[in-house]
């Protein structure tokens, strides 16, 4: 099986010495955990001589704490989390290393049916101005809008804030943003606790499938091909055991390569359903792979292979948003905040797979002058 994924003409990535111990890798119940799961399911970790135990974590806070305090060696993290850790936000400080990007795009803004109705007919992606108008009408009627994001230091939070601000809204005053763990989003929408949420797949498609909401736009509509999750190693891990870190990164790149091949998508969906989402239907999971949201074709759908190279200049956009909204202390330097993004692990791993550098991605959306803050 593994030999089918790794092109036989290419050299097999191999450890130069046996792994000394098992690498503990944390992940969260999301479609873009796929590279990690696929690497295990297809024996790609075995192929690089690495013993890995995966652990599905119930909260981003738990992933962070375990990675910061030594209970995990590596983990799937939200893009802005390494910055939060480098800055020691909320008291937890750790110098993690980003080995690879785990994906691009893939989050959706899903609105409750009543809110969508209040907006009126719209074409997707929903223009921020139309959303702002509906939100103001709701606020004037004494029913301010509450939207859920999955974690404060998330691409979801910062892309949503950028989009809201582009429609003339102040995300801290004109509406209420709350944190809702992705698997709970659909339920909270049903209870009316939130009017919409921005979360990774399959949770948007799941809410649609349950008839609870409608997808207004995908995160790739805000920043086409934006970097999403990352594979991060615990502080000091890459220095202590560079071979394992490179081997793990190679397995992830090989998995991403496999995932972006259209002929593998049905199997990818099957793996995800079996391992992460036994209660969900295949259709809800498949949407992200087909690049559709509620049936319409996304301009910038979930991608894996083109997103594996960690790019500091892209992460700098997260930092700018964190500054814009006052989420990082003023004294935090760019050098400190972005120090987790290194390319040496990726380049060493890519060389073993003869993976070429992906083309430079589209620039992030520009930020307006900070006039009202």
């Amino acid at each position: 099986m593994p030999s089918a994924i790794l092109d036989p003409a290419l050299p097999r990535p191999a450890l130069h010495r046996p792994a000394l111990r098992t690498l503990r890798l944390g992940l969260v119940q999301l479609t873009d955990a796929a590279p990690v799961l696929v690497a295990e399911e297809l024996g790609l970790f075995d192929a690089v001589g690495l013993r890995v135990t995966l652990s599905a974590e119930g909260a981003w806070a738990a992933v962070r704490d375990k990675l910061a305090f030594g209970a995990l060696d590596a983990a799937q993290l939200l893009g802005p989390m390494p910055i939060a850790l480098a800055a020691g936000l909320d008291g937890v400080r750790s110098q993690v290393t980003v080995g690879a990007g785990l994906g691009a795009n893939g989050n959706t803004l899903t609105l409750s049916l009543p809110l969508a109705e209040a907006i009126g007919r719209f074409t997707r992606p929903l223009p921020a101005a139309s959303f702002a108008a509906a939100l103001r009408r709701r606020a004037a009627a004494g029913r301010p809008v509450t939207l859920g994001v999955v974690f404060p230091y998330s691409s979801h939070n910062y892309l949503l804030r950028w989009w809201l601000a582009s429609g003339g809204l102040d995300p801290d005053r004109d509406l209420r943003l709350v944190t809702v763990p992705p698997p709970l989003c659909a339920g909270r929408l049903a209870e009316g606790a939130i009017d919409g949420f921005c979360a990774g797949e399959p949770w948007g498609s799941h809410a649609v499938e349950r008839g609870l909401g409608t997808i207004a736009l995908s995160s790739g509509d805000i920043w086409p091909n934006h970097p999403e999750k990352v594979l991060a190693f615990a502080a000091g891990y890459a220095a202590r055991d560079p071979e394992s870190a490179i081997a793990c990164t190679a397995a992830i790149i090989a998995a991403a390569r496999w995932l972006d091949a259209p002929e593998n998508q049905a199997e990818a969906v099957h793996i995800l359903q079996r391992r992460l989402f036994p209660a969900l239907g295949a259709r809800e999971i498949a949407a992200a792979f087909e690049g559709t949201a509620e049936g319409w074709l996304q301009a910038a759908p979930l991608r894996f292979r083109t997103a594996t190279l960690p790019r500091r200049e892209q992460a700098a956009w997260w930092l700018r948003q964190m500054r814009r909204w006052g989420h990082v202390p003023a004294g935090l330097t760019e050098a400190t905040a972005l120090s987790p993004w290194r390319q040496d692990l990726w380049r060493a791993a890519a060389a073993r797979l003869r993976e070429v550098e992906p083309p430079p991605p589209a620039p992030p959306p520009g930020e307006p002058a900070d006039r009202d803050r």
């Binding site: 974590e57 806070a61 209970a71 909320d90 008291g91 974690f151 943003l177 709970l184 606790a193």
Partner: protein, 183 residues
Amino acid sequence: MDSDTERAAAVEAGLVAAGCVVVGIAAGTADLTRAVRESGAEVIVCGLDDPSRDELEGMRALHRDEPRPVVLFAEKAEPEQIEAALAAGVAAYVVEGLAPARVRPVIEVAIRRFRAHQALREELALARQEVEERKLVDRAKALLMQRHRLSEPEAYRRLRRLAMDRGQKLVAVAAEIVGKMKA
């Protein structure tokens, strides 16, 4: 904050015994922000993996006017305490401004109760496993007795001999026999 009601009750009892006032127990609460604000809690104890943790963290980062709980794994905690908390699977949040000295006994009680609960769970699982294994051995014995017209001690001896010959556990051989004879 715990969706495991038994564990929550154990932690509550421990905290009350230590002289704390437990103002509320929350499990999967939708408006956690309001629950925290209205309860006036100064310390929040929860499971390390509890999804509600992310909601608590959101309070701090997203709303400047609310009580702002800070996770206790913070720099100020001692390494041994962090390690113990991680091992026991407990996380704690302190509402900003509370003196660390007042939090210490709370987290210590929580760690002890979580650990005890974990041990109890493991013991229970072990006991359950033993019962299952005994049932399996009994079924294998019954099948052998029926098929080969053996007495109970003879069937048991045959099982043991098989296990010894193959260097396997008695229960593994029993499982195989039950599996084969059923098929």
